[in-house]
Amino acid sequence: MKIGVVINEGPYTHQASDSAYQFTKAALAKGHEITRVFFYHDGVNNGTRLTVPPQDDRNIQKNWTALQKEHGLDLVLCIAAAQRRGILDASEAKRQGKDADNVAEGFRISGLGQLIEAGIQSDRLVTFGD
């Protein structure tokens, strides 16, 4: 089955990203196709490379980056939501005249159309969040 995943909450405050990660891993293990993982609302905060959680805790961003590398996942941060919350890739930082960028390896920034497209192209769209 083709499954699209939507994550609407940021890391650590909320379990949404953890649950989505476990779900995605399990779905892939069962042979399903993950069409896209789309991060919206505070969910875009999962894609910053600047988080430094305690060493005895999970690193949510690195988990996603590793899963992306292993399975070639399409991890998309919504650009409008990301800009509001200070999540920028290199080209966007340059365009906005900012002196830093922080999108983690394996994530990309794109538009809301990618969410709609995931809905169209997937058999199921599974949302994680409140």
Partner: protein, 137 residues
């Protein structure tokens, strides 16, 4: 776009317009999604019914009043807005407390028709069961 690629999208709006950003960012998805020529409906339940109330004024909280954007939905062919009756009643609201949202029907000489329809919880249940994609905000 062929008919097979048209899906039924339902956007569930469950939260008050202010206090959290969900309502505003949900509307941004609806407006972008309108360009994809899908069969789009919106539902308003729980505190989400407050999103459609007439006369919103955010001067006191320093947040942008985005409610006028709902009036543009008709121009994007987004004209099926279902408001749950039970949610309205639980909050002491009636249809007359909501904005008058209309769309123009090109098949009937651009007659203005109401976009908002009040439905019962049971009717909404059937509507949800009929969808291909439900996005919940």
């Amino acid at each position: 776009m062929s008919d097979e690629s048209i899906k039924k999208f339902l956007y569930m709006n469950r939260k008050a317009p202010y206090g959290t950003i969900y309502a505003l960012e949900a509307l941004e998805v609806v407006l972008i999604g309108a360009a994809f020529d899908q069969d789009v409906s919106l539902a308003f339940v729980d505190d989400g019914v407050f999103q459609l109330t007439e006369g919103q004024n955010t001067d006191g909280i320093g947040v942008k009043n985005f409610s006028p954007a709902f009036r543009a939905l008709g121009d994007y062919d987004v004209n099926k807005l279902y408001v749950e009756k039970e949610s309205l009643e639980a909050r002491g609201l009636a249809e007359s407390d909501l904005m008058e949202l209309v769309w123009e029907d090109e098949d009937e000489d651009w007659a203005e028709k109401p976009s908002i329809k009040i439905v019962s919880r049971d009717e909404l249940k059937v509507l949800m069961g009929d969808q291909d994609v439900i996005m919940s905000f």
